[in-house]
């Protein structure tokens, strides 16, 4: 691969937020990485799907609530958030339990489109197998 080519980066999120810092520091990588003009996607599976839930309120814990940052990802042109259906199912979650994360599609007159793409486990595995770089958190 020549240096000029764009690489496919996948950020894999498999851990719940707040109990450990991985989810939060993963987001920091994604935001910085957005400046590098690569082909970026995020994967949420296993406990990683908990990162995207609505209504997170950390006041009582003293921790910083970083969940609004997911809604800002579109501004950084991070627009592909793959969420695994089986992981949702095992946790009793549906798409309705997740934040409504949108991006403006500049190729389609800035129409607002959903960033979350629910995929099956098989599709997730295929997505992983297409990447150049996989960073896991």
């Amino acid at each position: 691969m020549s240096d000029d080519e764009v690489k496919k980066f996948l950020y894999v999120n498999r851990k719940a937020p707040y109990g450990t810092i991985y989810a939060q520091e993963s987001l920091e990588v994604v935001l910085i990485g957005a400046a590098f003009d690569q082909d970026v996607a995020m994967a949420f599976l296993d406990d990683g799907v908990f990162q995207l839930t609505k209504g997170q309120d950390t006041k009582g814990t003293g921790l910083k609530n970083f969940s609004p940052t997911y809604r800002a990802l579109g501004d950084y042109e991070v627009t592909k958030l793959y969420v695994e259906q089986e992981s949702l199912d095992e946790r009793g979650l549906t798409l309705d339990d997740l934040q409504d994360i949108q991006y403006e599609d500049e190729d389609d007159d800035y129409a607002e489109k959903p960033s979350i793409i629910v995929v099956s486990r098989d599709q997730m595995a295929s997505l992983m197998a297409e990447q150049d770089v996989i960073l896991s958190f």
């Binding site: 498999r14 851990k15 719940a16 937020p17 707040y18 109990g19 450990t20 296993d46 406990d47 908990f50 839930t53 609505k54 209504g55 997170q56 309120d57 950390t58 006041k59 009582g60 814990t61 921790l63 609530n65 969940s67 199912d89 095992e90 946790r91 009793g92 339990d97």
Partner: protein, 102 residues
């Protein structure tokens, strides 16, 4: 003579909650906090197991951690009581010992 057991890891990732529930005694209390609160959710692949193994104990979930994770209290398993940090202190004071399932 009861024990307060605490569990702070997600049961979908880690075996701590199941191991805890297999070692509780009737009348013990189990407090779920940090990522452990996911174990208190109804309608998950683990809900029935948690309800069954926890039938003889009192299960609590720490409200601040439940709220941090966006879990609506209506989604908690039947019988799970919410407590705040002061309630956590009371549970520790009112049982004879605390066992932390790390």
């Amino acid at each position: 003579m009861a024990t307060l057991h605490t569990v702070n890891r997600s049961p979908f990732q880690d075996q701590a909650l199941l191991s805890c529930l297999r070692h509780v005694k009737k009348g013990d209390s189990v407090l779920l906090f940090e990522d452990g609160v996911y174990g208190a959710m109804s309608g998950t692949a683990l809900s029935d197991t948690v309800a069954e193994l926890g039938a003889d104990v009192s299960v609590y979930a720490l409200d601040a951690d439940v709220a941090a994770r966006g879990i609506d209290s209506a989604r908690l398993l039947e019988g799970v009581a919410l407590v705040d940090y002061a309630g956590f202190v009371d549970l520790a004071a009112n049982t004879e010992r605390t066992q932390n399932w790390l």
